[in-house]
């Protein structure tokens, strides 16, 4: 679909922006003639000292993630080990700039081949340090700060991002880059649209539109495209402002009826960017992030600390942690079954954890210990028959008794279930032993429509607004209300403004949504 002047990329930070293109600097030239080793070492030491001064100055006005990135660079520049290999090359007669570049390139190469994506992404911080010192060695001045421009290049240094004036808008387009780079985090924090992995970028371009909603960059756009985007941008700005206005207000319907809006979380890192005051708690914490394929299963202590951190983040707000929900479709070596012909109908969720009680026990013990640190609820996924609640509850009781016998602080949190298998949604009254229900509309829709949203040919059938799905949601809601069981819905449906009216009409008053959608959902609820 992309035309000749369009490129597709991965969205590292959402939004829209159009403006003049500014190319990110190429590497500083290597052109020094080697003086004596003393002169060269002194020149390098001077350049490092000036670079340290730059970073310290930037740090004065930085906070959060930015301060962390700068703190790391500062520590690198203060470490004699950083210049030691360059000093050795200088002693052998090399000029300071080449010695520095070679030494840093060798260090950077070590990061670029790391297994862990986090360490690979740190190569950008080292390049940043390399280029800053190299600029000072070449007698270069501070890179100019551009405002209201699209910065285009192979990659962007974090400090370059921090030195740029974003007050008049702007965007970043990178041929390479990564969504986990420090700079991507900074862009999300500042709301600067950013696309990475564009591949080849045009050699000549004066202007660009960055559509970081669709992952599209349009270079030298025709007038018609520009005016379309100008209108969309204005609309988006208005929408964002309206969302920002309601973000920290209690959610309510048009008639003032209160609604709770919680968030779905899949990793601890996500919480760094979220202020807990913007939501009513965590409605779904997917504990799967603790279990990664090919790594040892997480121990009780590690799980306990992680759950505790979530609870401390939330304060008094409820935190619903779902017990391990993996299966043949999300394999974990040594835990999930091998080849299953139909993994979505196989050994997954609570079926798997009940089959592997030693793994389940570790998690339940960690949860019972964490429960004393906040308002914790435990949720069981893929429940199909009431016996699965009984067995889990018995196991949880045993864990609590064991912990008490070991004189460990613990308590038994409320135990609820995901309503996602049609067998439950059809006859919710059989599951009254659950302390709460949370409708998992993604799986419920997939099982009711017998269509996967991952299969393009049938994805259109996977419609949560299918009357059969809505009827099951209503059945569940009616029983929950009559029986006094807390009810929420945590599927993607709740994040979609178009479905909110149907959910409210079905009786839902508690929704758990994607963190980025909280403002949008609160805004849309006021129209219902």
């Amino acid at each position: 679909m992309p035309a000749g002047n369009e490129r597709r990329g991965t969205v590292a930070s959402g939004g829209l922006f159009g403006g003049p293109v500014v190319r990110l600097d190429a590497d500083a030239e290597i052109r020094r003639l080697a003086g004596s080793p003393e002169q060269e070492n002194a020149a390098l030491a001077e350049a490092v000292a000036v670079a340290l001064g730059d970073i310290a100055a930037l740090m004065d006005r930085a906070d959060g993630d930015a301060a962390d990135i700068l703190g790391f660079q500062l520590a690198l520049l203060e470490d004699d080990e950083l210049v030691a290999p360059a000093n050795a090359a200088i002693a052998a007669g090399m000029a300071a700039d080449l010695a520095w570049k070679n030494a840093m390139d060798a260090e950077i190469a070590g990061y670029e081949v790391a297994d862990d994506e986090y360490f690979r992404a740190r190569a950008a911080d080292l390049r940043d340090v390399r280029d800053r010192v190299a600029r000072h060695l070449a007698g270069g001045t501070q890179a100019p700060m551009h405002s209201g421009a699209v910065l285009l290049g192979d990659d962007i240094a974090p400090t370059r991002f921090l030195e740029t004036d974003w007050s008049k808008g702007g965007a970043v387009l990178l041929a390479r880059g990564s969504t986990t780079a420090h700079v991507a985090m900074l862009a999300r924090g500042r709301g600067v649209p950013m696309l990475v992995g564009l591949g080849e970028i045009p050699a000549e371009a004066d202007e660009a539109i960055v559509d970081a909603e669709k992952g599209l960059a349009i270079f030298d756009p025709p007038a018609a495209t520009k005016s379309t985007y100008a209108a969309r941008t204005a609309e988006l700005v208005k929408q964002r402002e309206a969302e920002a206005e309601v973000l920290f207000t209690p959610a309510k319907l048009g008639d003032g009826t209160p609604v709770e809006v919680l968030i779905n979380v899949a990793s601890l890192d996500e919480l760094d960017a979220i202020n807990p005051a913007s939501c009513d708690g965590i409605g779904l914490m997917r504990s799967e992030f603790l279990f990664s394929d090919g790594k040892p299963l997480p121990g009780e202590e590690h799980q306990y600390k992680t759950y505790r951190r979530l609870l401390e983040w939330a304060g008094d707000r409820p935190v619903t942690i779902r017990t391990l929900d993996v299966g043949g479709d999300k394999p974990i070596a040594g835990l999930t079954p091998g080849e299953e012909k139909n993994p979505f109908l196989g050994l997954r969720g609570v079926r798997l954890t009940l089959a592997r009680p030693e793994v389940f026990r570790t998690q339940l013990r960690a949860l019972a210990r964490a429960a004393v640190h906040g308002n914790l609820k435990i949720m069981i996924p893929m429940v199909t028959v009431p016996d699965e609640i009984t067995r889990t509850s018995t196991l949880l009781d045993e864990c609590v008794r064991e912990l008490e016998a070991e004189s460990m602080d613990c308590s038994k949190p409320p135990l609820g279930i995901m309503v996602e298998v049609p067998a439950v949604a059809t006859c919710p009254e059989l599951f009254a032993a659950a302390n709460f229900f949370s409708i998992g509309s993604n799986d419920l829709t997939q099982y009711v429509t017998a269509a996967s949203r991952d299969e393009p040919a049938v994805a259109a059938l996977n419609d949560p607004a299918n009357p059969a799905v809505l009827q099951l949601i209503e059945t569940t809601a009616r029983f929950a209300r009559d029986a006094g069981i807390d009810l929420s819905l945590c599927g993607d449906m709740a994040s979609e403004p178009a479905h909110l009216r149907a959910l409210i009409e079905a009786g839902l008053r508690c929704l758990s949504v994607a963190p980025a959608r909280v403002g949008r959902v609160k805004l849309a609820l006021r129209e219902v």
């Binding site: 990135i69 703190g71 790391f72 520590a75 862990d116 600390k305």
Partner: protein
């Protein structure tokens, strides 16, 4: 070398020995009374715990063990101080990091 103090601890910080934890570790190592060396494997290679360049180059992911050793009069306090920092998850409480966020 006979009075070498050794210790080991699993890195439980949820991302591993990353930039921020490494900065904390090296800062503390610089304040200690005895030099401490660390390694990613029990047999080494051993590196100076004061060098951020070397510490980061170990690239220790979460769930892996950090080995520490030191020698000299104050070695046991020094090693214990670093072990304790790891045990406290490097004092990186995620909740209050948001205070300055926007």
């Amino acid at each position: 070398m006979t009075d070498m103090i050794r210790a080991e601890i699993v890195i439980t910080h949820n991302v591993g020995l990353h930039a921020r934890p490494s900065v904390k570790l090296t800062k503390l190592a610089k304040q200690l009374g005895a030099p401490v060396e660390i390694a990613a494997m029990p047999e080494g290679p051993w590196i100076d715990a004061k060098s951020i360049v070397k510490v980061m180059a170990l690239k220790i992911p979460q769930g892996n063990t950090l080995y520490l050793r030191g020698s000299g009069a104050e070695a046991s306090q020094a090693v214990e101080a670093l072990v304790d920092l790891v045990r406290r998850d490097f004092d990186l409480e995620r909740a209050d990091e948001n205070a300055g966020g926007k």
